[in-house]
Symmetry: C2
Subunit: 173 residues, 2 copies
């Protein structure tokens, strides 16, 4: 048993260290979002990709949706509603033209992610957030939660996606 | 020791299972790219996000760059040249308008990832690929490698990015 235990230490520790090593620049923030009381989840920048998109209007951004393991497994298994513990992160960046890419690619126009805009999260907790479809919402700008007025708009905006458990984003193949 | 061992089994096994469970739909393909002999790396869809972008011209796509752990660590540490073992994946999808998002967001235009276009990889092996800056290249469409003629264009196109070790993509914050 001692040998098995040592083996387990040897095998398990690197995996555990990788899983739990804090990455300071990607740590969660301390301040919680109004209404929902959510902080930036630690390690979200390491989560797996759900999909990408962009919005033209206020920001002209490029965006990525990342999911924690609960979210990714639910997406891949087509599990609706999403189980408690699901967290979906929306990262976004100002879209900028890449002159460098355009020179190399010549006959196309290439756009890339510039500076970050804001950061959004949806967290599933069907009891805690029963009055908003089981979801808590949060938006952070420069690491600080945005206003209560803004957070009041989250759920009404997501309501039309009720058939997909209030989530608009589909998993990209 | 027995109790510690049991605890380790309890703690370690779920982590190990998550790390090593094969995901059939995301397995690597069998057929190798011409010139460079690269197959689709198993598990690439689970890799971490480097950045996002889009190209307007032939495809009007949305794209994501993912990196294996060697790639992500090198990016975050600003390590140039990238170490051997680095793999960068470029996923791309046809960009489609999301009428559903537009209805919810009202005064903006939202675009999302539609069906996949093709899949590209850069693999760093400074000895094996010495004549092409240490990089092997591969492009796959519907899981099959594209032509030799196409693969001859990869390195010349990447040459202008010599100062960043032939990699155009920057890490998105």
């Amino acid at each position: 048993m001692k040998r098995i235990a040592s083996l387990l230490v040897a095998v398990a520790m690197p995996v555990l260290l990788v899983a739990y090593t804090p990455s300071t620049s990607r740590q969660g923030g301390e301040e919680a979002s109004p209404i929902y009381g959510l902080t930036i989840p630690a390690g979200y920048r390491d989560w797996k990709l759900i999909s990408v998109g962009r919005v033209v209007g206020h920001n002209n951004d490029l965006r990525a949706k990342l999911g924690n393991d609960v979210a990714i497994n639910a997406y891949r298994e087509g599990k609706i509603p999403f189980p408690d513990g699901t967290i979906i992160a929306r990262l976004a960046w100002h879209e900028v033209t890449s002159e460098e890419n355009n020179k190399a690619l010549r006959d196309v126009d290439s756009f890339v992610a510039g500076s970050a805009t804001n950061l959004e999260f949806m967290v599933k907790d069907s009891k805690k957030y029963a009055s908003t479809g089981g979801w808590g919402f949060a938006q952070f700008t420069d690491g600080k939660p945005d206003s209560e007025a803004l957070h009041k708009t989250c759920f009404p905006c997501h309501e039309p996606a009720k058939d997909q458990d209030f989530v608009f984003t589909r998993y990209a193949p």
